[in-house]
């Protein structure tokens, strides 16, 4: 490679990595992410201390004993010894005291209960209490209907459905929930990266033009080397940032988890506000999914991230080179962006049928493969020929994109004060 390419590449990486904004984004993003994941868990573990002594006005006399059977530290139940009005008055300014007034007719389909306290209880507390009442009433009505509670309980079933995926290596745990999260996540990230870094690239090129440094530059460097140095320099910055993110998030989760005495799965469960059985199930699945994560996926992610970025990034660079001011960028970037948006619009359909024709086509065609192939790979085992074809087509289109962009770049860099149309750009490509 031309030595000047490396000089341009090095400067691009050095200047950008040293930039304060890079530092903030690189360190701030994982902090923010971890904060979003841990703060709700932290907060909900702090509010666990909410507890009530509840005086129950129970006209039927059948519910209080059941409540007392299901007593727990945060909810203690006692029978009322005073009239309701006096009880309610005694609640003023009393923390942790409450009066629960129940309806007198168990047979009504809408059972009315009122919880009085000086402070409103948390939603979670309310839900737990309602659930308790729900179950007790349900059982009492079954008794009234003359059913044996033992029989009813014995008839209750909990279906536990696990999915196993059969592969050549034998069968392994398969978690579609995890695959979905991963698929969406990787698809979106690879899409976002293209635009974030493509945008940075375009601005960088434009800056050189508006700074008027570009004529000095091209009297030393071939425009092709200048463009490639910038394009790959920013790609390297992106990879550095990505590596730091992965490392930091991992580190923070481990450290944070250790401090809280929670494992990753518990964290995820706690975050879901109250570990209902389904949520716990999901958390367990995610934890299992983490275990089945294929390292090859990281390799493919890097390939498709770089591929998508190069395919679109070069075109962004060409746009940056052919305009004078950012305001002129709009129409041109929109046209470039449309094919990049298509896979994001269709990713939902792809995820629902990851081996269907739409998914296969979108993951093979280069304009969408960087997003869709990532999503599919996370979800299913993509046949080798499809991966090979997709990678080959992407590589081929990158060569084409670089070639077209280089021509526009060379002509555009030294062209000022000319409003550009696509026709004009096409002429440049043909002419040079």
């Amino acid at each position: 490679m031309n030595p000047n390419f490396w000089i341009v590449f090095r400067r691009e990486v050095r200047v950008r990595v040293r930039n304060k904004l890079f530092l903030i984004a690189t360190l701030g993003t994982p902090l923010l992410l971890v904060a979003v994941m841990t703060i709700p868990a932290l907060v909900s573990s702090q509010t666990e201390t909410e507890s009530y002594e509840i005086i129950v006005v129970d006209p039927t006399g059948r519910i209080l004993p059941e409540l007392q059977k299901a007593q727990e530290p945060s909810m203690r139940f006692a029978a009322a010894t005073q009239p309701v009005e006096a009880l309610k008055r005694s609640l003023v300014d009393q923390k942790g005291k409450a009066v629960l007034v129940l309806a007198d007719d168990l047979s009504r389909s809408n059972f009315h209960a009122v919880f009085h306290s000086s402070q409103a209880p948390s939603l979670k507390f309310e839900r737990t209490l309602a659930k308790k009442l729900d179950r007790i009433l349900h059982e009492q009505r079954l008794l009234d209907a003359g059913l044996n509670l033992e029989t009813v309980r014995a008839a209750e079933v909990n279906v536990d459905l696990t999915t196993r995926k059969i592969t050549r290596e034998g069968d392994e745990a398969a978690s579609s929930a995890w695959g979905f999260i991963l698929g969406y996540g990787m698809g979106f990230i690879s899409f976002m990266m293209v635009f974030i870094y493509g945008g940075l690239l375009m601005k960088g090129v434009m800056e050189e033009k508006t700074n008027r440094i570009v004529e000095v530059m091209v009297s030393s460097v071939r425009p092709f080397d200048l463009m490639l140095g910038k394009v790959l320099g920013i790609a390297a910055v992106g990879l550095i940032q990505f590596a730091i993110w992965v490392g930091l998030i991992g580190l923070l989760l481990v450290v944070g988890g250790a401090i809280l005495g929670l494992s990753g799965a518990e964290l995820a469960a706690a975050q879901a506000d109250g570990p209902t059985p389904e949520q716990q199930e999901m958390a367990a699945q995610i934890a299992a999914g983490l275990g089945q994560f294929k390292p090859a996926l990281i390799g493919w992610f890097l390939f498709y991230f770089l591929g998508g970025y190069l395919l679109y990034g070069c075109l962004f660079a060409a746009v940056g080179a052919s305009i004078d001011q950012e305001a002129d960028a709009g129409p041109l970037t929109t046209i470039i962006s449309i094919p990049a948006y298509i896979p994001i619009l269709l990713i939902g359909a792809v995820m629902n049928n990851p081996d269907g024709p739409l998914a296969v086509w979108l993951s093979v065609l280069p304009f969408s493969s960087s997003t869709i192939m990532m999503a599919r790979m996370a979800l299913v085992d993509v046949p080798v020929w499809q991966v090979a074809l997709s990678a080959l087509l992407l590589a081929g289109s990158i060569v084409g994109s670089v070639g077209v962009a280089a021509r526009i770049y060379r002509v555009g860099l030294l062209m000022y004060g000319k409003k550009l149309t696509f026709g004009e750009l096409a002429r440049w490509v043909r002419a040079s």
């Binding site: 700074n211 008027r212 004529e215 000095v216 091209v218 009297s219 030393s220």
Partner: protein, 309 residues
């Protein structure tokens, strides 16, 4: 081809769409001269300079650089200060210089050493770590100039190098240009300021509408455009003086007279004639300023019929 030529430009043509920006330009730039490249706006100077600096490539014709066909690798042997110039505003001065000089083939340490020497000479050593945008315009201009020369190019191309500089900095840069010239480095100097050209350049070429319309040694060019106008200064007021009818008077003041004698009339006889009536203190032949030559040639060559030169 003779090694004493820094540049031998032969029949160079460059076309943009329907516009023929350079229409068969031939020029020779000898080594060790300061060569003025002149022409009105849009004449094709920048197009020519961009081909010399290998930013663009001629459609046809040859450019010979110190006896070799011009190639990309020769870019490193040139220092080019374009009229449209700039620097990375947020980069530190020294880092920026090192970057631009590395692109010219210097090693980083060498680039740093050379840059510091020039910064010192230009009184900017203490600003080496400042960001470019913190510098005054004049100082930015000096940094830009250092980036053009610090790799010791074999050929310097300076497009309006003095624009935006105060007289002191202009002098500083002019001195450096003369030093390069004295060391044998040819300098192509492009400007619209004709008095600067008169002051600095030894050879000039005037381009108009994509062609060379005038070229040669500065003195020869000016001699060529002599009009025969004479300037006299007198000891006594000349209100009373009556001149022969065949004399063409351009300007007449209380103590001076500008005129042209008819063809064949001896200057010495005319002075003797004047001295009989008044005392002539001083006389000189008025040669036209470059400015006048420029305007005359450009106007003459502007109309479509090409003028043979």
């Amino acid at each position: 081809m003779s090694q004493s030529l820094a540049l031998d430009i032969r029949e160079v043509v460059k076309q943009f769409g329907s516009l023929r920006a350079n229409d068969g330009i031939s020029l020779q730039v000898p080594t060790g001269t300061i060569f003025g490249l002149l022409g009105p706006n849009g004449a094709g100077k920048t197009t020519l300079i961009r081909m010399i600096t290998r930013i663009t490539i001629p459609d046809s014709g040859d450019i010979i650089f110190f006896g070799e066909r011009l190639e990309d690798r020769h870019q490193r042997q040139m220092g080019y200060l374009p009229e449209e110039r700039g620097l990375y505003k947020k980069m530190a001065v020294l880092e920026q210089l090192v970057y631009l000089l590395e692109l010219k083939g210097l090693k980083a340490a060498e680039a740093e050493r050379e840059s510091m020497q020039w910064l010192e000479r230009f009184g900017l050593a203490d600003r080496a770590q400042s960001k470019v945008q913190e510098l005054s315009k004049g100082n930015q201009q000096k940094v830009q100039f250092i980036a053009t020369i610090a790799h010791r190019p074999r050929l310097l191309i300076l497009d309006e190098p003095f624009s935006g500089l105060d007289p002191i900095n202009t002098q500083l840069i002019e001195d450096v240009i003369r030093e390069f010239r004295a060391a044998g480095t040819p300098v192509i100097f492009s400007t619209h300021r004709m008095e600067q050209v008169e002051q600095i350049c030894e050879e000039i070429a005037l381009i108009n509408a994509g062609r060379v319309v005038l070229a040669g040694e500065m003195r020869a060019v000016r001699r060529q455009y002599r009009s025969g106008e004479l300037h006299f200064e007198f000891d006594q007021p000349i209100e009373e003086l009556e001149l022969p009818a065949e004399v063409r008077v351009f300007d007449r003041g209380r103590y001076h007279l500008n005129l042209a004698l008819p063809a064949g009339r001896s200057v010495n006889e005319f002075i003797a004639w004047l001295n009989e009536r008044n005392h002539v203190l001083r006389y000189e032949e008025v040669s036209p300023s470059l400015q006048q030559i420029f305007i005359e040639v450009v106007q003459r060559t502007a109309h479509p019929s090409p003028v043979a030169l």
